[in-house]
Amino acid sequence: MTEVVSSPPSEPDLETQPPGRRPLAWLEVVWQAILPVILAVVTSGILLAILGRNPFSFYGDILDNGLLTDFGVQQSVVRMATLLLIAGGLIVAFRANLWNIGGDGQWLLAAAFVAGLAPGVVDAVGGPIGLTAMLLVGAGVGAAWTLIPAFLKAYHGINEIITTLMMNFIGINLANILVKGPFLTDKPGVPRTDILPLDQRLPLIGDPQIHIGILIALAMMVAIHITMTRTPLGLRLRVLGANPRAAVHLGLRPKRLIFIAFAGSGALIGMSGAVSMLGDWGSFRADFNPAYGLLMVPLVFLARLNALATVAFVALFAVIQIGGDTATREADLPTDFILVLVGLLLFFMAVTEFMRLRRIRRSRFQAQAESST
């Protein structure tokens, strides 16, 4: 039949061409990362000025509260741990060209389970074992929640955007049902789970004190980076993502790879939910939904699915989120102003990316012309 010349978005695979082998590549990457930040900051600054606020003091507040005070650093790093694990989960799926859009459902469901079970379990078996078990429970719940989309994609070719989106809504509701039902605390007030006592949460390190979630997250990002760049599994996933038909041709067992990518993705996102509950919140409140998953989708894509670049981007976002929280309050603006800043940042990143892709297309065409003559 008619061959439909469809190919995944022509994302040049950075990791087969390590930046080190190309001169000035790092400089280009850095410029690519900084330019959109400058543009977004300037545009939002103008917007602020129009709204009658002083942009300089606003940005000063963000830096102050997100990075320069002990409390700010503490909060930013803690947020970063949560976001990093989600981003890592998305990288695993996106690399295989599987659009896991339902990260929030996976995250919330894992968080609900962990928050509901942790107080009892940690009390019973003690900190180290209990907390480790809880991290694994989070990962397991997250992974389990991707099973149905993985199955439908692998065996029936059903688009994963639609299935993960639906599982997302089910997950959000189910998390609430759990928290209002089996995991509901006896304590009065808003429906929530029992609170995990402060001294039973994830251990703290350093000064200012930060829980070890960030170490877990960074270790995972390094592991993802190594897996993707160095191991057979990583290459198989990348081949599946770049050219699913080639994966069949090469005998890579694509169905199994789809399950692996989805499960890995869900597990990391679930673990993020666990870290957030065990280290940060200590309890799951009904109707809680910070929607981090959706926020990370464009971010990791614009970091070109590179785990290390994602760390830098996520750090920036964490600071903006934490610092922005206070800064908007100081400036008497709705906290949603941060979303405007984030939205602009993503747009400018996308446009910078457009310029880069156009340049690559040009040089690809040139190379093609030269090698064919």
């Binding site: 039949m1 081949v239 080639a246 090469l250 012309a369």
Partner: protein, 533 residues
Amino acid sequence: MSTSPDTSGTATSGRAGAAVPAVELRGITKIYPGVVANDSIDLSAYHGEVHGLLGENGAGKSTLMSILSGMVQPDRGSIHIDGREVVVSSPRRALELGIGMVYQHLTLVPTLTVLENLMLGSGSFALDFRGSRTRFGELVDMLGARIDPNAVASTLSLGELQQVEIVKALWRETRILILDEPTSMLTPQGVLELQRVMQRLKDSGIAIIFITHKLHEAIEIGDRVSILKEGRRVGGVEPADLRSKAPEEIKAQIVDTMFGEGSAQLAGVAEMEVRPDEGEHERTVTGDVSLELTGVSVDGGVDEASVHDVSFAVRRGEILGIAGVDGNGQRQLAQAIAGQRHISAGDIAFEGRSIRRLGVPDRQRLGVRYVTDDRLHEGTVRDMSVAVNMVLKRIGQAPFWRRGGIREREIDDFAAKLVERFAIRTPSVQTNVGTLSGGNIQKVLLAREQAFDPRLIIYNKPTHGLDVKTASFVRTQIREQAEKGISVIVISTELDELVAVCDRIAVMSSGRLTGIVDNGEGARARIGELMLV
């Protein structure tokens, strides 16, 4: 004889009353970064005449036709229709000017019906189904075709699809029809049918530009021939010469024009255009049977061709050809032997043991290799480097991976050796494979599949879309492999190629093996018959 470069083909036509060309290109030049695709090309086509445009892949035929159909704008030069200068600024403008195009790849929307495909792009808001049906009837009658206008395009056979493509190209009062390699997916009978259709079109006064890379087609079908090479028009044959001179003489002249003086004598016309004489192939294969298929069936589902009850055996050192029109189950059969696809019945035995339960990697280890026909979308990952593509079938294996970690040095060295051995033109082994030309990508595939002691290699359309030199290189490779005792299966739609390299040729039609012919005298005719079974 007028194969001299100075004859532009715009000289007065032999036909009376056709002094003004239907379409005339003057000095068309198109430059892409790094390559001159068209270099001041002059070309004319007359009403009621077929102009054969002959050239290898990469000679600039496609660019020229993209310019005529409004897809691409020329950097210099002008286009004249019926003597008036025009600017073909867009595909829409081309249609308005009466230029219809039948592309090499199909351009029908598979989910729309035949009639809907034809009405695509019609100006009026509400579709005129009744009027369209009438127009469809007229055109189909003129072509002598029989097609259901309400059939969904994806359910039609390739031959029917091409007829619809021609109807589509003629839909809007077309006066100039361009056919881009139209015979590439037709049976020999289909080609005759097409020639009959073209005769009818000529009679109705349409000017036809017929693009081909096959020499014999150009002079058999064309009333006038132009030869393109490296973006320039290097010569042509005038109608008077085509009518008066012997075909062999014309062929020799054209080959000289295309490949340089004296090459016709040097290599023989046959090798240059891959049309060997029958019966010249003499080779006896006595090796043991290495691959044996018994009653193999493959379920292709709704979207793909199925294979029914296919049995054959291939000896060591033998080259078995599989002929047949595209889409008759050849690809599915090849995939089944390679291990990419489950078989629903029968058995596949390789070197004495059944391999039907083994996956691709296990069969690879046994020495079964498959050079796919779709090098861009199946064979390679275009955004990965040449080096990585070379080892894609050995992911995780030593020496390229050790203790789960990749060893880039090993891979690069391995790739560099293959790049040298196969003379692959690439800036480096780190270059992304997608930036290479088709011929070089094909060489990457050959290099990958021929490495590590192959025992059976299946080549699916191994020379499709390659220039003559690379195609000849590939055929030499295939023969050399067989000499070494490797079993070879060559799947091709080009009979000439099969006759040139194979020991025996099997024919597939509607997923069945309709017969196996020993290559020799009269093989071509018998294969043609078997295709119709």
